[in-house]
Symmetry: C2
């Protein structure tokens, strides 16, 4: 289990990225993710890889009855309790590999950009399926398989002038660990194909309801035209599935 | 509606490719496709884009009660009647855009590598959903969206010595026509994202059961090691969905 978020350099760089809304999360991933959410009124929600609690807080403020936020990083959970505390939220310093909640405990399990860090995806999905109520929803985003496939650090091929010429795709069927540099060296992610992701959900009684490969909001693209580059290859994939156990 | 298969040059080149088992169909697409089929005993099957009837014939020989094979190409239907006739098969020269069969007429609708030729995918899927019995299955393969996305003819980037360095991915969100050269100039295909393909099925009451991004059979890879290159990017996608109307 990787705990890169407790690395001092990584933690500070990541916080700064998120606080300045510099990343793709705010303009691309979060709006698409939230468009998939059901009415949150009175829902009991598990937020896996909650980070510093930005989304957990938002769920609490938007009608959830109870939110459980878990994260492997002690620093993140500390920060979450500091800046995104709420009487409806319980934060736990816990890796997603070790979720041990009651059967049928949650109406909704959400996870934003965490699942590409988990080695045993099938075991994770099995656990989620177990803690979800019948008809409960699992909504998660992760790096798109055309992104996690790459073994080199930067997937863009570039011209001599530095312009992006195309996205490099390779090693797609090699479902193994990928070591990358993101703020620090040795960030570990796991590549899985779209087929594996979808079929693992289905085999664990999670019925696919929608898949998104989001682009930036039009407002964001007007402010920052460079975001249009994200249309050239999908950076993220978001899946919504319903428990049919 | 495109009828490239009635082009003399295209038709002869395509037949030669298929008859010599030179293409990826035989070693990669067909084995994966058939692994998704249910027991065919007494099934009424619609085979969309049946070509020269190779698969229609196989369904008839493997228990189907009735097979309806349709294809836009008169030449293909002529050839199908000539080499793959069977008393259980009806062949019609009909474009897939114009299927007009009875409601709930089929247990199984199959289509092999045809749907990337259709412009209005949603209308096609609506028609399929309509002719499928409740709990009936739709299984189809098409070129993978990482392949249809490309605007240039060859998606492999190559080194000076001609070795494949990686697959070129670009223009992913641009869901429009692509003109390619395949035996002849001006072969028209339509690119759609994975999200669009999956969500169109779901919106038309077709519940995703499985997705495959097939690799070659191990036998074929031993005989022709070059086939391992297909692992570097998925050439095809195959979807299996069940009618839940």
């Amino acid at each position: 289990m990787q705990n890169i978020y407790d690395n001092e350099t990584f933690f500070e760089s990541y916080l700064s990225l998120r606080e300045n809304n510099e990343g793709l999360n705010d303009v691309l991933e979060i709006p698409a993710f939230r468009s998939l959410l059901p009415d949150l009124q009175d829902k009991v929600i598990l937020d896996i890889g909650c980070g510093f609690g930005e989304s957990s807080k938002w769920y609490a403020e938007n009608g959830a009855k109870k939110v459980v936020g878990i994260d492997i990083s002690q620093k993140m959970i500390h920060k979450a309790k500091e800046i995104n505390a709420d009487k409806k939220i319980e934060y736990y310093n816990l890796p997603m590999e070790e979720i041990e909640f009651g059967e049928n405990e949650f109406d909704l399990v959400v996870s934003s950009l965490s699942f590409h860090y988990v080695e045993d995806f099938c075991s994770l999905i099995k656990k989620i399926s177990n803690v979800l109520k019948p008809n409960g929803l699992c909504i998660f985003s992760q790096e798109h398989p055309v992104v996690t496939a790459k073994k080199i650090n930067n997937g863009w091929a570039k011209s001599e002038t530095g312009a992006k010429t195309h996205w490099i795709l390779d090693n797609y069927q090699e479902e193994t660990m990928r070591k990358q540099t993101w703020f620090v060296d040795g960030v570990i992610k796991y590549h899985r194909t779209i087929a594996t992701i979808v079929n693992t959900l289905i085999e664990n009684h999670l019925n696919i309801q929608k898949i998104l490969e989001p682009i930036s909001t039009s407002d964001a693209e007007i402010i920052n035209p460079e975001l249009k580059e994200e249309r050239r290859r999908p950076p993220f994939i978001i899946l919504k599935a319903m428990s049919v156990k």
